[in-house]
């Protein structure tokens, strides 16, 4: 029996994505900066290291005030081993497309977990 999920009335949405995606969602009001100037987002560009992405992912998935983590799929591919190993219900990890990298169901970690019931080919082929 799994541990019960703690309820939260004002949980945050964290983001690990490119500049335009993060800017867009910040315009939608999800940006949060605490007293220690810690943000709930990480902007990934060409200079961002894999270690920085890993640290941000680990931080966002262990914070109790975050309920959903949005991560661009191409960024998730850089830390695929970490994303696939993650199996907690909260925060929910959602892989989203980016401008240059459209969403690929075959790479989605959630669909990879359920692929044993059928092949990913049958999932991806009908969606292209």
């Amino acid at each position: 029996m799994r541990a019960p999920i703690a309820t939260n009335n004002s949980a945050l949405i964290a983001m690990i994505a490119d500049e335009d995606t993060v800017t867009g969602f910040l315009m939608a009001g999800v940006g949060n900066v605490d007293l220690r100037r810690k943000t709930n987002y990480l902007i990934v560009d060409s200079k961002t290291t894999v270690k920085a992405i890993e640290d941000a992912f680990k931080e966002f998935t262990t914070r109790e005030d975050i309920a959903i983590v949005l991560i661009s799929q191409y960024v998730a591919n850089m830390i695929r081993f970490l994303v696939d190993r993650y199996n907690k219900p909260v925060p929910a990890i959602l892989e989203i497309p980016s401008k240059d990298h459209p969403y690929d169901p075959a790479q989605d970690s959630v669909l990879s977990r359920v692929k044993h019931l059928f092949s990913t080919e049958s999932v991806a082929s009908g969606r292209r």
Binding site: F25, N32, A92, L94, R113
Partner: protein
């Protein structure tokens, strides 16, 4: 010397020996080996038939449950993929409008460097609840989006007082939401391109879709776990 009529697992009657009291068992056909003849004792036959029917019903009921779980899983999977398509469309729209706004306002006005790094709370948050699933021991989270919530407590109190005036309250809510939206765009300057406001709305739509996706994901993973348990239970 008595006659044994013992139905074995195949429902056949085995005449273990012969009896000299043939009058008491007029329907028995005396043979020395296992035969598929009608069973003399009709009660025994009826009991066996009833037992067989009950055994047939049990697999059917459990099969129906399994089918229902599989259907639930496939439905949630289909919804998940459909919502991902909608999300891609909303994001594409948002990126296009953002690029258009950047083109008209200038790239120096719309970039990550001017983002607000001072202390501020998120205006759009999530309500995380855990609806109790009485059939199973696992609980799946449920996410609800709360857009543009005012941090000012006085505004909330004033909304509660005007409960009887629905239209006035609705208008005040809309005004409040518009204020919050404009306040968020102040980072980019007092006067912003209409395309930037359109981009803001597109990303709000994308956010709503993402919350739906998160809920569908929870349902899908929960249904998958149930189906997997059924499959593992069947194999054992």
């Amino acid at each position: 010397m008595g006659l044994w009529l013992e139905p074995n697992s195949n429902g056949r009657t085995y005449c273990s020996s012969l009896s000299c009291n043939f009058r008491n068992l007029p329907q028995v056909q005396l043979r020395s080996r296992i035969v598929d003849t009608p069973i003399s004792n009709r009660r025994t036959e009826m009991t066996m038939e009833r037992q067989q029917r009950e055994e047939e019903k049990k697999p059917q009921t459990s099969e129906n449950d399994k089918d229902e779980k599989v259907v639930q899983f496939l439905d949630s999977l289909n919804d998940y993929l459909t919502l991902m398509d909608s999300l891609s469309s909303a994001l594409r729209q948002g990126w296009l409008e953002l690029a258009s706004a950047r083109h008209s306002m200038g790239s120096w006005r719309i970039n990550s460097a001017i983002l607000d790094h001072k202390f501020h709370s998120a205006s759009t948050t999530l309500q995380l609840s855990s609806p109790d699933d009485s059939n199973y021991n696992m609980k799946q989270p449920h996410f609800t989006l709360r857009k543009w919530e005012s941090c000012d407590d006085e505004d909330f109190q004033s909304k509660e007082v005007k409960l009887d005036e629905d239209e006035v309250q609705k208008n005040s809510d809309d005004v409040q939401v518009q204020k919050e939206r404009s306040k968020t765009l102040l980072v980019f300057g007092a006067l912003v391109s209409p395309k930037l406001r359109d981009a803001q709305l597109s990303f709000e739509t994308a956010l709503e879709t993402l919350v739906d996706i998160a809920n569908r994901r929870s349902v899908m993973l929960s249904a998958y776990d149930h189906v997997r348990e059924e499959i593992l239970g069947t194999k054992q």
